[in-house]
């Protein structure tokens, strides 16, 4: 009994937090999505399924697809950059590791918006990269680096890669060195050890980092707005505009529901991967 009470007290704040800031808002979003918009924003409490029909329009499904593509690309690149970085950090001498990890998270010490604006300074037609390349004679006409998909992917990769480095570093660090030594003692070449011993053990880290980047990217609206020049819309922009400029809360809520559903599926998949990895490790 005492144990139960203790559990309840310990879980209480967490569950309360979840209920208040997660369950209630989601219920509100769902409620909004089945009503009509008010002329000046807000909700007109007339039941309708029109918002769902509208969200299923190819135009908006196309935006979901495009957002998923951009987020997927950003995720892939982030993992490809982060894995070797994390690997190198685990191989560095102990005393350096903390310093290297601090360097990884250093960009977070400045504001997201400022970091994104910095990319505008670098990528624009008269920016550092174009002027630099022109100065050394590599290009004559400036390259279109800004206000397109490329710029958005660069912005997302730059901002979210540190998370992946940390996630993969954590799982690399957890590997039992003896399994690597065993592999080497049995005569496996380095890359075989890497592929068959190291990588499988870091799948949970890759999945955690990857899902993190994907989820943050697909809902992002600042980066596509600033680096995509507003011409390229992602789901986040669409939802943002529904609430803050079109004043169509119900439609914005419906789009949010789609996004939340998508994220839940991904997080569920990630949990499955982590669980399977844990089971295999125990075997």
């Amino acid at each position: 009994m005492k144990q139960r009470l203790k559990t309840a007290i310990l879980l209480g704040p967490g569950l309360g937090w979840l209920a208040l800031l997660m369950v209630v808002p989601c219920a509100l979003i769902f409620t909004y999505s089945v009503f009509e918009r008010g002329v000046y924003g807000g909700i007109d409490y007339t039941f309708t399924l029109e918002n769902f029909r509208r969200a299923a329009d190819p135009l908006f499904l196309g935006i979901f697809l495009q957002s998923a593509k951009i987020a997927g690309l950003a995720t892939l690149i982030a993992i490809l950059i982060a894995y070797p970085a994390a690997f190198a950090i685990t191989r560095a001498p102990r005393r350096w590791q903390t310093a290297l990890l601090i360097l990884v998270i250093l960009p977070f010490w400045s504001n997201y918006l400022i970091r994104t604006y910095a990319w505008i300074v670098m990528l624009n037609r008269e920016g550092l990269i174009n002027n630099g390349l022109a100065a050394i004679g590599v290009i004559e006409e400036p390259l279109p680096l800004l206000y397109n998909t490329f710029a958005v992917v660069v912005g997302l990769v730059y901002n979210y890669t540190p998370f992946v480095v940390l996630a993969i570093y954590a799982s690399l660090n957890r590997i039992n060195r003896e399994t690597i030594e065993a592999s080497e003692d049995l005569g496996a070449p380095g890359w075989v050890t890497f592929r068959r011993v190291i990588v499988p053990q870091t799948v949970p880290g890759i999945a955690a980092g990857g899902v993190f980047v994907f989820v943050l990217s697909i809902g992002n609206f600042i980066t596509p707005d600033l680096l995509g020049g507003g011409r390229l819309q992602m789901v986040g922009n669409l939802i943002y505009d529904q609430f803050l400029s079109a004043r169509d809360w119900p439609f914005g809520a419906t789009l949010s529901m789609f996004l939340i559903a998508l994220m839940m599926i991904l997080l569920f998949a990630q949990a499955m991967v982590a669980r399977r990895a844990a089971r295999e490790a125990a075997r």
């Binding site: 008269e126 279109p144 011409r231 079109a246 004043r247 169509d248």
Partner: protein
């Protein structure tokens, strides 16, 4: 026209201060009956204005900030205007507030400085006689361009279907009313026409125009002109002035099809429990000093005749659109509250922005 995306970031700050403002008012109750809360865009009035106002009238005033019209509108509609006494909003939003019964009638007897306004500013189409709103700043929306890189543009079509050498070097405003306004003017339609066929025509036109844009830009378009990234941008006259201030080759022109007359207004909320103090504030803002500050610092024209006549001649020379006469401006159509038409309008804008 004060609007903007950068200020989206500032909106969190504005929200916090608005909440703080509401709680201060709620807690203090009768003890501070003479305290009023004003919501305005950041930097849209002199920083020391409230201090001076309090020193002169003894009325305590607190400033809350909003980033966009839509933001303050959302808050005021949700809360019935509670917690705010005076709002700075663009005219279509003032009109909407009035339609919703959220704007208080302006008692002209308590605003003697109304006499400082131009006659034209007393007869604006959204509110003839200034019955529920008072104009604060006004101007036009047109084309801002690099005269050293292109010939003077004459038509909205120069922006919407640019010549080959301008493709990828033009920007448009993405704030819905002005985005759609460019197409409506090019089509020879009213800015407030929300008929299906006009919306459809405007949509097709703007989706086609999107392919040739460098970007949509509501806040940094003049910097793109200065840096040479863009050659031609859709701009509010005052914002084009920020570019002109940095490069004299930048010029502003109103296309032959016309423009909109935008008006930013001051509204007293019907929820205000300090209507007298709120009116005193409106009167203070209409003084010559504030008007001169707006024109000299924001580089917007103001409907305050007394202020405009006191301006330094060099300001009008350096920024020719500042010298535009009220009679020349008021012949253009104003953006009006679209009422029920807002729904179809917003859908069209969403379709344009979502188009690939």
């Amino acid at each position: 026209m004060k609007t903007g995306k950068v200020t989206r970031m500032g909106s969190a700050v504005a929200r916090v201060s608005a909440v703080a403002a509401v709680s201060v008012v709620a807690m203090s109750g009768a003890a501070l009956a003479d305290k009023i809360v004003i919501s305005n865009w950041d930097g849209y009035m002199p920083a020391d204005l409230l201090e001076k106002f309090t020193a002169e009238t003894g009325i305590e005033a607190e400033l809350a900030l909003h980033g966009t019209n839509e933001e303050i509108m959302g808050k005021v509609v949700a809360g019935g205007g509670e917690g705010y006494d005076v709002l700075f909003v663009s005219s279509p939003f003032a009109e909407a507030l009035n339609n919703l019964g959220l704007a208080a009638p302006i008692d002209h007897a308590k605003v003697p400085n109304m006499a400082n306004l131009y006659d034209e500013a007393m007869q604006l189409s959204h509110d003839p006689g200034n019955t529920y709103s008072v104009p604060y700043a006004w101007g036009t929306t047109g084309l801002c361009y690099r005269s050293d890189m292109m010939d003077e543009p004459t038509s909205w079509n120069d922006l919407l279907s640019p010549s080959d050498d301008l493709k990828g070097k033009v920007t448009m405003l993405s704030t819905d009313r002005w985005l759609m306004g460019a197409a409506a003017l090019a089509l020879g339609k009213s800015l407030n026409d929300t008929s299906d066929e006009t919306l459809a025509e405007a949509r097709d036109m703007l989706i086609a125009a999107k392919q040739n844009l460098l970007s949509y830009d509501d806040t940094t378009f003049y910097q793109k002109l200065v840096s040479g990234e863009a050659t031609l941008v859709q701009a509010w006259d005052g914002w084009c002035n920020y570019g002109i201030a940095e490069n004299a080759d930048i010029k502003y022109v109103i296309p032959e099809e016309g423009t909109d007359l935008w008006v930013d207004t001051i509204v007293v909320t019907s929820a205000s429990e300090n209507a007298d103090a709120a009116h005193a504030f409106v009167d203070y803002v209409l003084g010559q000093e504030t008007g001169v500050w707006v024109a000299s610092n924001i580089l917007y024209k103001t409907p305050n005749q007394k202020a405009m006549e006191a301006l330094d001649a060099s300001l009008l020379e350096g920024f020719p659109n500042m010298a535009m006469q009220p009679a020349d401006m008021t012949r253009y159509e104003q953006l009006r509250d679209l009422g029920e038409g807002q729904k179809a309008f917003a859908r069209t804008v969403t379709e344009i922005m979502a188009a690939q």
